[in-house]
């Protein structure tokens, strides 16, 4: 394996540098949407449908408009026409898509569908008035339930005479069927995953400010990608892109929910333009749980063929997703991504797939940390099912199938090309750290005492930094100011993922300056170069890569100028801690700050032809994907009298290439694992059969707390990628791997009772029901 050359003075990359954004955030000085206060600012709230599917018969605004302090109320027929285009449209050949408008018009299609926007002097008044908007509905049959939608006599959308949003399958493959026929065992099982919500701590929100004189829309966005927001608002509002500015300050998490701008945000921007005043909307938690986009809600059926030793011979995967009424991404995405990534860390040649997505009268689906992760849920739970069925240890069956270093480069049956990965190493590292053999002994002793302990393994390859279209490139402007202090301008944003620390680490190393002398400016389309923002675990690879490229370019100029001033060759110079020295001649040196001052103020001292100033802008186009790999292992105890599950120990073995900051890497993993624990044990945005959401406060939508998340131990393997810094993404793996590890641990604990666990969340009542079912079977 090749190693990536570290910078000559790598003091920061690889170190647990304290987060530079923390003093601001932890002392309450973060700047979130609700901290934005502009002169003359108004507040918006929405009247939402209480029904999943209904005709709007009449809307009476009279009483609501009479509330003192109300400025305007518009329903869909009044406001939607201000948009220049449908808000988004994923229709294609064989993939119908509804017309997406800011507000419902004529009918409503999920409980929470925005029917009218109320603008008032404050949010209290807006909500008082919203209560008084009188909407008469004629209920229609709602389409609810992933497995019921296709056959439902109801239609999720007017004008689309099917609830099937997408359906596709791989071509019939006789070789696949032959492989199944030749397998010693063929095992089929269906795995289900319930509807989740991303639940960022800061819900959706924005302040939109239409400035009449400048004909400019300024949006303070709680977003993951300000430049794509700029493009979005320009398009839907019919504005030239240079008359839109998007400012993204601190963002309280998004986890995918804030990649795409939504109907409510669009309505607020349209309202601001009508009124010529700033309008704020900050979603409350009930709205977020009910009407912000949801995730998961899918199932996968796997047919797996293995030989007598448990070596996989063939897999067929079939996926079904409920994408809700107005998915934010193409309806094919959950299924297509999951099916395409499914081969994961294992060697096998024969693979077939089928996928289907259905519209329902529920909140639309968007991305959520590892939006394809059903592949790991299904595959890894299936590995344990197969192992138990054929009597092979679950660690051993993975060893027999996992891709080894000597297999590389390796191309999956779906055409993904792996190189520089280490799934066998992270598997072994995690098993060793948790003490696999010792646990098996402890488990046997506990069983003899009537206690049920279990261990679960989840192994996966994480495709990171997917680079296509708007997310293909990233840019960095590195600017040494005349005093020698350094501003780095990037199209990224402050999102909780530590870029103000990690990007600065990368640049400070290359320029050889103290870390305090470097600052990242990001999240403002008027300031920073175009960037793809945050999604798909791309920041370390693409943003980190370009920060490095741009800093190296500037370093060359600094050294050229310094060499000229010191009458030495640039190649003979080194920069350390803000001083440039001729190697071997400590007396011959110049301060970095002096070089900067001369570059700006004393052009006569520059070498012939050198442009004044010290600034470089680079753009980096990343490879289509960069692969990280990981194994999560956890242990648990199940109380078979009450069905309660308690996690005992948790280990993650991870290879995300060269780590910029191991503390940040571990933070990313920990956050994802916590979300996976939530999904496996707690979280469920359930709907009743009429489409009424049942978990729209935190009393019912249960997130894991610190008491539910065990201390996590980490083992790092660093196999550099072939990108500039050797980094790989690590943003989603924690969430991808955790549910299967936990489900497998519970299933392992209950294996003596004959329980097979195929769905989540593992609430106490469901655990007891599974035990009962197994006993009565």
């Amino acid at each position: 394996m090749s190693t990536v050359e570290k910078p000559s003075a790598a003091r920061f990359v690889g170190a647990r540098v304290q987060r530079r954004e923390d003093p601001r955030l932890l002392s309450g000085h973060g700047q979130y949407i609700d901290d934005v206060r502009l002169p003359g600012m108004l507040h918006a709230t929405f009247v939402r449908s209480p029904l999943a599917r209904a005709r709007i018969v009449a809307i009476d605004l009279e009483h609501a408009l009479a509330v003192p302090g109300v400025v305007a109320i518009w329903d869909g027929s009044a406001l939607n026409g201000d948009a220049a285009t449908p808000l988004w449209d994923w229709a294609g050949e064989g993939t119908p898509f509804p017309e997406v408008r800011a507000l419902a018009e004529g009918d409503v299609r999920f409980a929470g569908d925005p029917v009218a926007i109320v603008i008032a002097r404050d949010r209290y008044v807006a909500e008082d008035a919203a209560e008084l908007v009188d909407v008469e509905y004629e209920p229609l049959q709602a389409v609810v339930g992933r497995e019921l939608a296709e056959a439902s006599t109801g239609r999720a959308h007017d004008g689309i005479d099917t609830n099937v949003a997408w359906s596709a399958a791989s071509p019939t493959d006789p070789a696949l069927e032959a492989a199944f026929a030749a397998s010693a065992h063929v095992i089929t099982e269906t795995f289900r995953q319930q509807r989740h919500v991303n639940v960022p701590m800061e819900p959706r929100g924005l302040v939109a400010h239409w400035e009449r004189g400048a004909e400019q829309l300024t949006v303070y966005a709680s977003s993951q990608n300000p430049h794509q927001d700029r493009e979005y608002f320009a398009r839907v509002m019919g504005l030239p892109e240079h008359h839109v500015r998007v400012i993204m300050r601190d963002v309280g998490g998004g986890f995918g929910q804030k990649i795409f701008r939504t109907r409510e945000e669009t309505a607020v921007a349209l309202a601001s333009r009508r009124l010529g005043r700033p309008v704020k909307w900050i979603e409350d938690r009930q709205e977020n749980l009910m009407a912000a986009n949801h995730a998961r809600d899918e199932q996968m059926t796997l047919r797996v063929g293995v030989d007598a030793d448990g070596v996989i011979t063939a897999i067929h995967a079939s996926h079904l997703a409920d994408v809700g009424a107005y998915p934010l991404m193409p309806a094919m995405m959950p299924g297509f991504m999951a099916l395409e990534v499914l081969p994961g860390p294992y060697r096998f040649a024969r693979y077939g797939w089928a996928g289907k997505s259905v519209f329902t009268n529920t909140s639309g689906i968007s991305a959520y940390r590892g939006p394809w992760m059903m592949e790991t849920v299904a595959r890894e739970i299936m590995m344990d099912v197969v192992a138990r069925e054929i009597g092979v240890d679950p660690a051993e069956i993975r060893r027999r199938n996992v891709i080894q270093t000597e297999d590389l480069p390796y191309t999956t049956p779906t055409g993904r090309e792996y190189d520089r990965i280490s799934p066998a190493q992270t598997l072994e590292a995690a098993l060793e750290e948790i003490g696999y053999e010792r646990f098996r002994e402890e488990q046997a002793r506990a069983r003899a005492e009537g206690r049920y302990l279990g261990l679960g393994i989840s192994t996966y390859i994480e495709p990171t930094a997917g680079a296509q279209g708007p997310t293909g490139i990233e840019a960095a402007t590195v600017r040494v100011e005349p005093s020698g202090k350094v501003n780095v301008l990037m199209g990224t944003g402050s999102h909780g993922h530590s870029l103000e620390t990690t990007m600065v680490q990368v640049v400070a190393d290359q320029l050889g300056v103290p870390i305090e002398d470097v600052r990242l400016l990001q999240g403002d389309t008027a300031v920073s170069p175009y960037g793809g923002g945050t999604a798909g675990s791309r920041s370390a690879v693409i943003a980190g890569g370009v920060a490095r490229i741009s800093a190296i370019k500037l370093r060359e100029k600094v050294l050229e100028l310094a060499g000229h001033l010191l009458e030495a060759a640039a190649a003979d110079l080194e920069i350390e801690d803000g001083t440039i020295t001729v190697k071997g001649s400590p007396g011959s040196s110049i301060a970095f700050a002096d070089v900067a001052r001369i570059a700006y103020y004393d052009p006569s001292r520059l070498p012939e032809g050198m442009e004044p100033g010290l600034e470089s802008t680079s753009r980096y186009s990343a490879p289509p994907a960069t692969y990280a790999n990981s194994t999560q292992v956890c242990t648990c105890e199940v109380d078979v009298a009450t069905g309660e599950v308690r996690l005992l120990d948790y280990v993650v073995g991870e290879d995300c290439g060269v780590m910029i900051n191991p503390m940040v890497v571990e933070g990313q993993i920990a956050g994802g694992v916590a979300q996976g624990i939530g999904g496996a044990l707690l979280e469920h945005l359930a709907y009743d059969e009429t489409g009424n959401p049942l978990a729209i406060t935190f009393k019912d939508y249960l997130l894991p707390t610190t008491e539910d998340v065990p201390d996590i131990r980490y083992v790092h393997v660093e196999t550099p990628s072939n990108t500039p810094g050797g980094h790989k993404g690590v943003g989603e793996g924690g969430a991808i791997g955790a549910p299967a590890a936990i489900v497998n641990a519970v299933a392992d604990a209950l294996a003596p009772l004959g329980v097979r666990v195929t769905s989540q969340p593992l609430s106490p009542d469901r655990v007891l029901a599974m035990i009962d079912d197994a006993r009565s079977a």
Binding site: R123, Y124, E127, D128, E131, D284, R285, Q286, E287, A641, T642, G643, E644, L682, H684, A686, L694, A695, T697, K699, D700, L702, P704, T705, E707, D708, S763, P764, D765, L768, A769
Partner: protein, 299 residues
Amino acid sequence: MKAAPFDYAAPTEVDEALALLDEFAEDAKVLAGGQSLVPLLALRMSRFDQLVDVNRIEALRGIELVGETLVIGAMTRQATIERDEEVRRHAPLLAEATRYIGHFQIRNRGTIGGSIAHADPTAEYPAIALTLGAEVEVASVRGRRRIDAGELLESAYTTTLEPEELLLSVRVPVWGARSGFAVHEIARRTGDFALVGGAAAVTLDEADAVARAHVVLFGVADRAIRLSSLEAAIAGQPVDQLDLAELAREATAELRPPSDVQATGAYRRRVAAPLTERLLRTAFVRARRAGDPTEEAAR
């Protein structure tokens, strides 16, 4: 998620508060620690014209042993009760149960009077009041009265308090020698409302027979309930001869607990039995230990 408009008063004397309650009656609501009321107002699931904030009434705070009764001011914070030495000594069950209430941030604001008056069927304090045989003292402009916890709790979120009445204090009787207690909950997460919870208080006689027993479950009905048939079945019986598993199963077989998104009613009934058994087992062990002079000295 903003409350509908209301008027707000924050009296410093009980009489002022009673006058306000008399004036506004069912249009008024007492604001104690606010841990349930404020979310209900913000969600507009409850609305009142007048809030009477009793947080500034000093006379409603404090813990005092009066004879054989622990008198706890209605506005005493849960966090205070959790740490109070008198409570630990004279009503250890109350201290132990407090740890199940939410998280410490909630207990720093939440009060005993507020919790009992709110009468959440899954809440700890109404159930503990019932288990220990506590009374509440209430007042209106027309005078004061005491209500037994069993008479107070009417149904979900409903008590026999009149709208004009203010809960002044909770009067917890001190259980005597050879008494033991237990409390436990099954919840989705630490600090959540109980799916099923229970508490037991028992006193043993010199022969280790059951002299007195109160066994209470919560989360299984529209209010905390005593398992009277179980209490009667074990009264006077030697502890060692009780088939607790069977008794608990019989005592919980007729329960019809509610279903919700967190658990089915069938689940709640099913786990009520092992929970009840566990409560009694623990309470008996502790009662014996409480009667053992060497154990007493060790404490």
